[in-house]
Symmetry: C2
Subunit: 218 residues, 2 copies
Amino acid sequence: MSDINPPTTRTRLVREADRAVYDRAAAYAILDEGFICHVGFVSDSQPFVIPTSYGRRDDNLYIHGSAASRMLRHLAQSLPVCVTVTLLDGLVLARSIFNHSMNYRSVVVLGNAVLVDDPAEKLDALRLLSEHILPGRWNDSRQPNEKELKATSVLRLPINEFSAKVRQGPPIDDEADYAFPTWAGVIPLETIAGIPINDPRLDPPREAPEYAKNYKRG
Amino acid sequence: MSDINPPTTRTRLVREADRAVYDRAAAYAILDEGFICHVGFVSDSQPFVIPTSYGRRDDNLYIHGSAASRMLRHLAQSLPVCVTVTLLDGLVLARSIFNHSMNYRSVVVLGNAVLVDDPAEKLDALRLLSEHILPGRWNDSRQPNEKELKATSVLRLPINEFSAKVRQGPPIDDEADYAFPTWAGVIPLETIAGIPINDPRLDPPREAPEYAKNYKRG
């Protein structure tokens, strides 16, 4: 790939270096398929890890939340943050317990998030977040009003220091173990969308839109 | 529920307190359904968030990894850690953008992990981790040898300080928005297992075991 991001001492993989992916295109494909990240921040020496949604545009990640939330109040101070996205693809059953593994794709982004102050960028980021999770929904919804925008904080995290890790394929056993008499292979895992459930207060009745009936990632 | 765990200032939910769950039984049901956690730790003031598997027995979480890994070497020093487990159940489509949400169940555990030194507890924890992810697999596999056990670290995190958060059900819109002309409801999400894929080196051919063919969580 053309755009290789050299690892720092903080993002260079110590182990399983063969699983490391440092190019942006591969990392962005993972970020674009997922929509839940786990955000790490430190408060009084204690790390906290909170799940939240996100969106990406170019070389920035956007997250949002209540302006009153602990996480948003904290991150708005531009303290160090870690955003991790993990896609789980399967359980890898080797012959030996030791070589059992998982197939997955993950990205870790380190940096300092900044509060988005500009109203146009803020609204744009909220649209981006919404469209990242569910393309088409923004225009079908009642748009945010002034009060709601004030109650929401948006943070931007530049994707400068990052690494990705990918494990795919069959188990890799020690050569001597291939004769061990057990089944080996992969149980694929996938997150799928079920049939949309109408809000009981939907009145008059409406059919769920295509983006809800055919929801799919990746 | 009988065993309520009073929140600390660090685990008390600041917002959406109606989504808070502080009883152990509810938190343990979430921990037992999931098997991937996101572990947060701090190194040189920088938080790191790393996905890994885990198991639970009684009031302890166990995680494991290479003794050489950055995370395990770090956590073995008994520094503060945060372990977060998130189960995603659906996208919640409200009439207003602002009231869009997700249905999820999550648990956050704070504490200090300790290295498991006792060989019997360590082996037991590895079996627990394996059986937590895939019941029945341990006995079908080649057991860990001395060298593998030495290369693996196991950590125990007591589940003392924790909180859980649960959001389920239909969207909750502002009363005035219920007349807004759009579909509203929930897109359920579920992680499902596909048909097991044989290791290309499976020789002689074997049928995948029942625990692989009928893999299911929850």
